[in-house]
């Protein structure tokens, strides 16, 4: 059982702030680190892995500082985001080399177990340079678990995996988490995170935007105000009808770039609004030409969480 603690951690590069005052306590089980690309997830993981000193604040593993202490890697496994390994060696040789570097008493047995766990026994004798993305990802995973660490950090581990490999890795993370290991993996895909992680930490633009179990995060994300852009046969009449609905908090008539008039609606209750809209339109004899959610991108969901 290990606890990874970040206390008021910030990291800046020149005058760019990559991580801004983040406090997180990671205990046993699987935690998902969710955020859009460039949010600072890799910077956080590099600091947790002891490869980047925080500009301010502290990162500790069971109370031990992570900097300049190679001994912490006996308890910590890391799956880096980058794909490059040692291309000119076979998968087996590479995992075995990792076991030896950990100075394990029986490196061969450890390497065997790690390779079997990630189901790479069949291709283990081939050079790493011949592997597909998904196979490389699995060998990376094997090198990270070969020494049976209590803490496992994975940077975008699902990248480049096909659905079957994804399921297999999700399964494996579940299992490792259930065994009482502290596991953190990063991802920019909510669905991916909520299938595996009991707990989710959301970072946006270097800030710790939200924290909790996935239902809570899901609720925050779905119950935010939704923006819609609507074109219809009678915009003004539609606007008047829409504002009378309970789930609507704002309506605006605007002229878009091509000079057409459109209706912009802000709805607080997502499902109530999408059910009410067709009913309203038919009651007032208005034809709906286009209904488009205006802000469904992941970035806007995240920025809502930050602005909250």
């Amino acid at each position: 059982m290990s606890t990874l603690e970040l206390e008021q951690v910030s990291r800046w590069f020149g005058n760019v702030v990559a991580v801004n005052d983040v406090t997180m306590h990671l205990g046993p089980g699987v935690t998902g680190l969710l955020g859009p690309n460039g949010a600072g997830k890799s910077t956080l993981i590099n600091m947790m892995a002891g490869f980047l000193p925080p500009s301010a604040g502290t990162v500790t593993l069971d109370g031990r500082p992570l900097q300049h202490d190679p001994e912490i890697y006996r308890d910590l496994g890391l799956v880096p985001e980058r794909e490059e390994m040692y291309d000119a060696v076979s998968g087996w040789d590479f995992v075995l080399a990792n076991a030896r570097l950990h100075k394990l008493p029986d490196p061969k047995t450890a390497a065997r177990r790690a390779i079997d766990t990630v189901e790479m026994a069949e291709a283990e004798d081939r050079d790493i340079r011949t592997y597909s993305k998904g196979m490389k990802q699995r060998i990376k995973m094997a090198t990270a678990i070969v020494h049976d660490p209590t803490v496992l950090l994975l940077d975008e581990p699902f990248n480049g995996m096909d659905p079957r490999q994804r399921l297999h890795l999700m399964d494996l993370l579940h299992r490792l988490g259930d065994e009482g290991r502290t596991i953190l993996f990063s991802s920019h895909i909510l669905e991916e995170v909520e299938q595996v992680a009991g707990r989710i930490e959301v970072v946006v633009a270097g800030r710790h935007a939200a924290s909790g179990d996935f239902r809570e995060i899901r609720r925050l994300m779905t119950q935010r105000p939704h923006q819609y852009t609507i074109r219809s046969s009678n915009d003004r009449a539609l606007a008047a009808a829409v504002i009378g609905e309970a789930g609507t908090s704002g309506v605006e008539l605007v002229t878009d770039a091509s000079g057409d008039e459109i209706v912009q609606v802000q709805a607080t209750d997502f499902s109530a609004f999408v059910h009410a809209l067709p009913r309203l339109a038919s009651r007032h004899g208005i034809r709906l030409l286009e209904v488009r959610p205006a802000d469904e991108s992941l970035e806007s969901v995240f920025s809502y969480l930050v602005a909250r």
Binding site: F13, A18, N46, P70, L76, D87, A88, N98, L101, K103
Partner: protein, 250 residues
């Protein structure tokens, strides 16, 4: 020293296309020596020169001054630079392994490659040029080894410190040592080439003058500077590796 680090370093160093370049360099040196022997067989005067100062001149100009810095550059930077650039160094660093032992091991592998592709060819070139297994071949082999060790350590350190190690190394070897060192006498005192030549001069002993081998620095100075450079560069490389920052987003 760490056997596993050595294995991985050897595989990645020799597994690259640079190996071809590594082979070309000594081949060129030996080809040149063979050509000199052919010329000597055709021309008596050339043969006399080859017996005198020409053989050491060739060994100095192509062995010590060209082959060794280029080999040291390829192997010194190649033993750690690509791993740092690609990020695969993380597999060595995320281990309970002393950082200095990683550097020392990588240096040992680099030196071994330099011996095979540089020191041995220089010795063979000496034998071919002089027609005997004698003091000239021996002295230049020792000098080449001294140069190879120092260049490898220096360029390995550069590769840990900067991603532009190859360019900076080339500028040092070609511009500073060859060009500036050839024109400005003071600059010669700060050059691995001259320090190694001091070693050659000492091993040759009295015949050094007759053969025209003369270093810009004395033997003791040269040896001390070689040792300080090698040990200092290695220690600094280890220290920097301990503090190496990995960040995917910059």
């Amino acid at each position: 020293m760490n056997a596993t680090v050595a294995l991985l370093t050897r595989r990645s160093l020799l597994g690259r296309t640079r190996t071809l370049v590594l082979l070309l360099l000594p081949m060129a040196l030996l080809g040149l020596c063979a050509l000199a022997q052919v010329l000597a067989a055709l021309d008596d005067e050339f043969a006399r020169e080859l017996d005198g100062a020409l053989a050491p001149d060739l060994l100095e100009a192509f062995g010590i001054a060209v082959l060794m810095p280029l080999l040291g550059l390829v192997t010194g930077t190649g033993s750690i630079g690509p791993e740092i650039d690609e990020g695969s160094i993380v597999y060595l660093l995320a281990k309970p392994v002393n950082r200095y032992s990683i550097v020392v091991t990588k240096l040992a592998v680099a030196i071994a490659v330099v011996v095979v592709f540089g020191v041995v060819p220089v010795a063979v070139a000496g034998v071919v040029l002089t027609g005997e297994v004698g003091s000239v071949a021996g002295a230049f082999a020792v000098g080449a080894l001294a140069a190879g060790v120092a260049y490898s350590a220096l360029f390995l350190m550069l590769a840990v410190v900067t991603r532009n190690a190859v360019v900076i190394g080339l500028i040092y070897a070609l511009i500073w040592e060859t060009l500036v060192g050839g024109l400005v006498p003071g600059a010669q005192a700060l050059s691995v080439q001259q320090w190694s030549l001091a070693v050659v001069e000492r091993v040759l002993g009295d015949s050094a003058v007759r053969l025209g081998v003369e270093s810009a620095v004395g033997f003791t100075t040269g040896l001390v500077l070689l040792l300080v450079t090698t040990l200092g560069a290695t220690a600094y490389a280890g220290w920097r590796l301990q503090r190496l920052r990995l960040n995917a987003e910059t």
